[in-house]
Symmetry: C2
Subunit: 395 residues, 2 copies
Amino acid sequence: MKVLYAQSGGVTSVINASAYGVLDEAKKAGLEVYVGIHGISGVLRENLLRINDIDIEGLKYTPSAAFGSCRRKLKNQEDINKLFEIFEKHEIEYFFYNGGNDSMDTAWRLHSEAQKRNFPLKVIGVPKTIDNDLPYTDHCPGYGSAAKYIATAMMEATLDLKSMYADSTRVFVMEIMGRHAGWLAAAAGLGWLNGIGPDIILFPEVVFNKERFLDKVDETIRRKGYCSVAVSEGIKYEDGFFVADMGYTDSFGNRQLGGVGFTIAGMVRSELSLKTHVAIPDYLQRSGRHIASKTDVEEAEGVGREAVRLALSGVSGVMVTIERISNDPYKVEFKTVELNKVAEQTKYLPEDFHNEFEVTDKFIEYAKPLIEGEFFPPFKNGLPDYLVIEEVEQQ
Amino acid sequence: MKVLYAQSGGVTSVINASAYGVLDEAKKAGLEVYVGIHGISGVLRENLLRINDIDIEGLKYTPSAAFGSCRRKLKNQEDINKLFEIFEKHEIEYFFYNGGNDSMDTAWRLHSEAQKRNFPLKVIGVPKTIDNDLPYTDHCPGYGSAAKYIATAMMEATLDLKSMYADSTRVFVMEIMGRHAGWLAAAAGLGWLNGIGPDIILFPEVVFNKERFLDKVDETIRRKGYCSVAVSEGIKYEDGFFVADMGYTDSFGNRQLGGVGFTIAGMVRSELSLKTHVAIPDYLQRSGRHIASKTDVEEAEGVGREAVRLALSGVSGVMVTIERISNDPYKVEFKTVELNKVAEQTKYLPEDFHNEFEVTDKFIEYAKPLIEGEFFPPFKNGLPDYLVIEEVEQQ
């Protein structure tokens, strides 16, 4: 009985903790464990690595996809047939796919095909996304750490702005990931828990109105001298156009966004004549493992282990979800949802989690436990000592 | 006998540790201690805060200028006269100015004026700059922590790129501060100490040649599939023009730079047809106290204490410097240099610290001790618990 695990989609700083959970739990169950290099793309090329004899301890504190990710969707029945040939040849009976919406669609199609073929394959989805936009789960592994990174960065940059505003920069803008949902932009507001945060958050769920935004900046400057802004890359005008469309699409057909921070800052500079600074953390916010949330790391490992337990008990066609049992003390249980329900759905920031320019106490109450706890990586030479698996390098 | 301390110029994540050193040492000497709010600008407005009864312990782990910074230079003799009126009125006998090149010029002019007037004022400069471009000192407090931030960010983003390149982003570009000198850009290369770093570093000391750069990207992509690039905001074409001049100047008359990351990525996209991602950490790299270097924090506090010891022994008109006595074990001693020697000079990255696109082992040997050790801030609610001084807020 062999297990296959693979990683897919945009990475997080804790997806490898999920990998650790899956792989360690499967090894402990006495199974032979393989990993597909660069997700389903690698599996299609039979690029599989047996990991039973590889030291994977370091996955717990290494960001990004240690086994390589991919953005490939299943294109047609030919892809599916090829995969089942490979599953059969390598006697794969368990397949764990660690990803977001698109990856759950892939997992669902493989599960359905297995049923159709009466092929003894159990498929379980392991959730992962910094965007926190997967439905049917209270939150998603990857979000808590990205949220902690963003809130910390916003606090530190706002302290910087506050130091400088007297005769220099008056407005700081930080551009935050999150194409459709404002979960990450909202996270910028968490610094207020410790007294320092953004004055304005621009959510993708709120239609961008230039005049109202500039009025709010102006009012803030008059009141306190400086204005700190968190802007989601996904903000749109009333006509549905992204404020900062980059002009091309990625391999999943999604429009590439970027530079909205400069667009917004340009408005402030030209209309209000204020000096601005712009930060675009980009990849840093999703790979910032050095400031990961302990809660997030532990849950990421947990959903991985749960996926294996479910598959071994005969379950297939589901994604592991997290249900919040209580908030104080924070307590969760792992549940499941059918993969086809998750695929290609987006969970937006609820209306009572934000108003036009700020998060509500309800959001803060929701997000606070998710960023709790520190789980620093080991350091060597003054820098994080991340795991790079030699055997993956050689693939 | 009263002490006056003030902060000036772009902030760092450890300038407050220097503040702590100065203020604590002066308090211990039984002096009455005042702080100018927003540097010399605040002093000119008599915006002084007595800090003897304020708890300043948190300065050791709080980034940016807790007492506010400024970019103001002394404009004319009228400014100087006004300052001496204030020094006289408040019986200030010791003035500590914590800043970079421009601030040392201010300090020098006050020291000279005091001598001319036979006014009993001792002036000591406390060095601070993430840029590490102050002459006559082995390195400068603020650099080690910014270097540690940049190296860590580059490692994490490169791991991200390496996860994604198979069918998505192939080139990642991180834009790094440092208008004239390449010390911070070079720091991106430190990740190679732990096996993950940039493939290309573009230094301001090296004339930017688009063709050679694109050839190097192309060669790297062919060899390993992806290419990670660190670019200094200060890179220039052969004719001396900045590759990304923003089109305006700041209040010190310096050209504002920004967006070079997008310029460089645009070249890669249009000429090599490769998907790119761009990160611009901006303020985050100079205020990222959560990943500060312990060595840096301790030295920042140390130069502050040394400044007070010197002033109390009658010295004036100097900046505290750091001399490296040995590299392994790393050991430094504090020395001094006349303020007028420091002012408006720039220490560039030495030629044997870099080649066209990489740092040398000699640079790594130089920089490694400066990023050593972790000194995390306390955390509360999952976020750093930074000090915000109520009395400063009320000024």
